[in-house]
Symmetry: C2
Subunit: 347 residues, 2 copies
């Protein structure tokens, strides 16, 4: 029987609960489709940091490299470890080291879920650049703590980095409704974003079949709320993609529904699958975390592994559960109830 080696990183807070739930669902789907998942769990987290002084061991990245895919829950517990330490010590280095440059985030309303908008047409695919740009981590501070203090943070965009994410986006648009929106802020950021616009125009020339539009990030945020039905594939930089996908999650009905895949399209390193939501320390021990975003991310993992039939079965099972009103309102059902309903729908 075919078997996939999966690295599980539950991480912090509700990460554990949603990964437990996801693992249960994925194994059920695997059994149904005739393949196996061979999971190895890593306790890397803020707990781990408090014990060892690092979010993961020095050879963490090398350890992960041997896996077929990584399933991650959530990282961060700001009251214990500054986010700028925890995220830069675990989540962000994985995305960069494994060149998971395409962060895919589907946003659509699940059956039975009522979003915050009056309008109900909402089905977009965000493609976020995931390795450079505003998250380059380049910068510094001088005159610390004095009235003269200055902090700088440099966004770095490479042609290779911008071009590959745009090409990836265009390919996705071909599989969907043939529309691509590129998001920048070229009216204010005249180096980075003007460059992005230029690359968009160049890459677009290779995709005459795709309808391309350029939006500023502010206008795009407004459009997602006012005219979401006008959008199909949305391609954005690391920061802009981050913002738009939380907004997308909100329009879906909440962070509990937003799935995410950090893809290395060249497949020369493992890809990572994680919900968009964070660790939510405030509800970490209440048993009410919504596992749907993580399970949906797990389905994206199966799809990436080539198990598209099992992936589709998981998505259908999620939809069957929400259509019955399970997991459609925050805190209404326990994590175990939602998971149980999805597992049952798979049977």
């Amino acid at each position: 029987m075919k078997s996939y080696k999966i690295a599980l990183i539950p991480g912090d807070g509700i990460g554990t609960a949603v990964i437990d739930a996801t693992w249960q669902v994925l194994n059920k789907a695997a059994a149904g489709a005739g393949f196996a998942l061979d999971g190895t769990s890593f306790p890397w987290s803020c707990d781990f940091y408090e014990k060892t002084g690092a979010m993961m061991p020095p050879d963490g990245i090398e350890t992960l490299r041997g896996f077929d895919a990584i399933l991650l829950g959530a990282v961060g517990w700001p009251k214990r470890v500054p986010d700028s330490v925890s995220l830069h010590g675990l989540l962000l280095p994985i995305r960069k080291a494994f060149v998971q440059y395409a962060n895919i985030r589907p946003h659509r309303l699940l059956p039975g879920v009522e979003g915050p908008l009056r309008a109900s047409a909402f089905d977009i695919l965000c493609i976020r650049e995931n390795t450079e740009g505003e998250y380059s981590g380049a910068g510094g501070r001088i005159h610390n703590g004095t009235g003269d203090e200055v902090a700088v943070e440099t966004a770095i965009f490479t042609r290779k980095g911008v071009e590959r994410i745009l090409r990836f986006g265009f390919e996705q648009a071909r599989k969907r409704r043939g529309k691509l929106a590129s998001v920048t802020k070229s009216n204010a950021q005249k180096y980075s974003m003007v460059f992005w616009d230029e690359v968009t125009a160049q890459v677009a020339a290779d995709y005459p079949d795709i309808e391309v539009a350029n939006y500023h990030i502010d206008a795009m945020a407004a459009r997602m709320v006012m005219a979401p039905e006008s959008l199909d594939v949305v391609v954005a930089s690391n920061l802009f993609g981050d913002i738009l996908t939380d907004l997308g999650a909100a329009i879906q009905g909440g962070l509990g529904y937003a799935a995410s895949a950090n893809i290395n399209p060249e497949r020369n390193a493992p890809s990572m699958f994680e919900p968009v939501h964070g660790s939510a320390p405030d509800i970490a021990h209440l048993g009410i975390a919504n596992p749907i975003a993580a399970i949906w991310s797990g389905a994206m993992m199966l799809d990436h592994l080539g198990e598209s039939r099992a992936a589709a079965a998981v998505i259908s099972a999620i939809e069957a559960a929400t259509a019955r009103g399970i997991g459609t309102k925050p805190g209404q059902h326990k994590t175990t109830e939602i998971t149980g309903a999805i597992v049952a729908a798979l049977a």
Copy 2:
């Protein structure tokens, strides 16, 4: 009779129509309250650029310095002049040169206007840093046009700049519901945004009466859609404020309702008042631009000039018009009809 010298910069596209409308309303309000507005109009715009090669004359800033306030329509016509040229040649230099560091943008639902959200509680005040940060204009590109091209854009934050906008925000919170949300992305941008968070904590110590919360920009975008009633004053950097205020405008029902004041709180240079919306070239000659955002911005100008009674009268007149269904749906009423209704309500 007291008289104020106002510089009018209609700018591009619908800018002219909304400034005409605003000027009519403000003069009516001034007459009612017993003061005069002495306006001088400047044709600085993309038209001007095409004729002269610059968005404004070399002594433009010095010319404006002599005025009590500036009323601006909209700048930009991307098909004719790149935004990165037009905005950096007119709008952005005024904000910076006159140290209009506090960009105030009120967002609330006007009577009769149905926003895109199911929930209808929405009343927040965005305070956006307006002179530095991600809009510093510092950056460059190398290996232009080659596969090795790299573009960098550096956000520069100074302690003075961050501290003064936060203090301004805290003062506003005191006049409202006593809550301040500071927006960063300190989990990913560990120089600039961690610095901002530190300054927030320091300034907050001087305002023990204000309830302070820190949000990441992605979470804030989601919160504005999911739980806007939890927010009061929102303070953000130049870029984050830009994004959140377009989102705020969308939640208000559209860009046609979003007013904005670029304030120099020390009053050692003129402040500038402009709607959040752009020049909308596509509807520039249709006579259907909604002037409410510009008129509301004009009311903020009167308030800044000390004419708070007249300012309040203008706001009430806007509300009287929208309550009657005038200007509440895009394109439904002509600019002149909406203006007429507001002028009539002032009588």
